[in-house]
Symmetry: C2
Subunit: 120 residues, 2 copies
């Protein structure tokens, strides 16, 4: 997801004198962005992301994530998988437990697409 | 939504020697953020937002939004209402047509919450 950007710098359409000057994201990019936003469109996943980000060493063990959100480990693991699949979290198995960390630059890149939308 | 921020600067817990140092968003804030991300979790709405942002004068008439996304006006109006309700778009009725513009600072604030999550 880190390579997905809103492309607003395309040339305006010149084939019609009266067409509005629209420089829009292409459907494929819009689909990728929407998929990432969908991963964030859940309160538990927003909480999990912030807990991982604030964890010691920028990571958190799944064993420490169930209590803060008050959910069972299978449910928490399900939410974490969605964040991993969206390219926002990295998962590393260490013995019995899985550890999660932010994918470097993923959230910053996503934030960049939002500010590019408004031009800075 | 412009006042919603991730609060990651709370004091770490000091009541337990062994608790992980977690500074997390509270559930209410997580709910607000997730609601905004949900409004963005649709390819059509991402496209509409970018079209409005790129429109002349930073606005777009609903009459110019149906063709680029290839959907009926009622469907487009439904998507636009979700973006308005999320605090991302402003709607102004002028005679027959509604015009949409970005709510100043809304996307930038949302981007800020993402970069705050990763600490800059």
């Amino acid at each position: 997801m880190t390579t997905t950007e809103l492309h607003l710098s395309a040339e305006p359409a010149t084939t019609s004198c009266c067409a509005p000057v629209l420089r829009t994201v292409d459907p494929g990019t819009a689909r990728d962005l929407a998929r990432t936003f969908k991963a964030l469109a859940d309160p538990t996943r927003v909480q999990l992301l912030s807990i991982v980000a604030a964890g010691a060493g920028g990571e958190a063990c799944v064993c420490d994530l169930t209590e803060p959100v008050g959910l069972s480990q299978p449910t928490v693991s399900h939410h974490l998988k969605i964040l991993v699949d969206a390219g926002l979290l990295h998962r590393e198995q260490r013995g019995r437990w899985a550890y999660y960390s932010l994918v470097p630059g993923a959230l910053t890149a996503l934030a960049g697409t939002l500010t590019e939308t408004v031009g800075g």
